[in-house]
Symmetry: C2
DNA sequence: CTCAGATATGTTATATAGTTACAAACTTGA
DNA sequence: TCAAGTTTGTAACTATATAACATATCTGAG
């Protein structure tokens, strides 16, 4: 599972995150990639910055962790609001897009003169299996 | 501006945050309260934990900072979803509640068997003044 | 009152997350 | 082929948060 246009380090980080199938902290990634020549946090953060700019990876702010985009082909960055349901039990992350909510937020904030740049929506709770 | 039922440290932290009129990091609070006898991060974090449990203070996950609740009398904790519009220009934070959105989220996630416990909604952007 | 449990506080050390500053290597195209 | 831009490497540092343990204060049953 690789993507064109990525440098070596970016590809390593992206593959690692994709393979994990769930969120990882920057330092977990660093440790996992020591055998591939990673030595310092910056190598991870730089790769993550690029991957996030490309919409291939998202940061989970409430977890200080990073997760591969669930549908990179759709260019998450462009279709606005990305939301996450995060299970406090098993740690699984479910990424979703809710256009109605998105428009409501836009309308509501637009009415106040606020111009959104990046929206963080993370619902912590229990998934069907862990409830 | 004080609240009944708070211990000395909790009251100091709450008053500091209320007086600030905006978000502060835990370590800013710590530095500001050295004259009041604060020495260690834990003193701040413990007070913040209690204040958050009471719904008097919210954490801004995308900022790693804390802010006094805009309407403590309403017991934010209880009326569910609290959202924040955070200006990347001036740093001002606007706290709001959007019940329609809240219900949509509940419906959507409920349909998937997901039980929300805590919801983080933070919209970063530019306020009317800074746009 | 008084003392035992619960709650709150103090202190040191450590773990985790992220950035700054600078140097070296590798593209790439005039 | 060499100069500008980009990517990478490395060390040191700052910022955020928690663990472990000791001490003090509060509060109610006897």
């Amino acid at each position: 599972m690789s993507v064109a246009g990525l440098t070596k380090n970016q590809a390593l980080v992206f593959d690692k995150l994709t393979g994990a199938g769930g969120p990882m902290s920057a330092y977990q990634i660093l440790d996992d990639l020591r055998d591939d020549g990673f030595r310092a946090p910056l190598q991870v953060y730089r790769a993550l910055d690029k991957l996030m700019a490309e919409g291939l990876v998202h940061k989970l702010e409430s977890l200080n962790a990073f997760v591969a985009c669930a549908h990179p082909e759709e260019k998450c960055g462009s279709h606005g609001l990305t939301a996450f349901a995060i299970c406090n039990g098993c740690g699984n992350v479910f990424e979703f897009h809710h256009h109605k909510m998105e428009h409501q937020l836009e309308d509501f904030l637009g009415g106040k003169g606020f111009k959104p740049e990046k929206t963080v929506i993370e619902i912590r709770g229990k998934c069907a299996n862990c409830a």
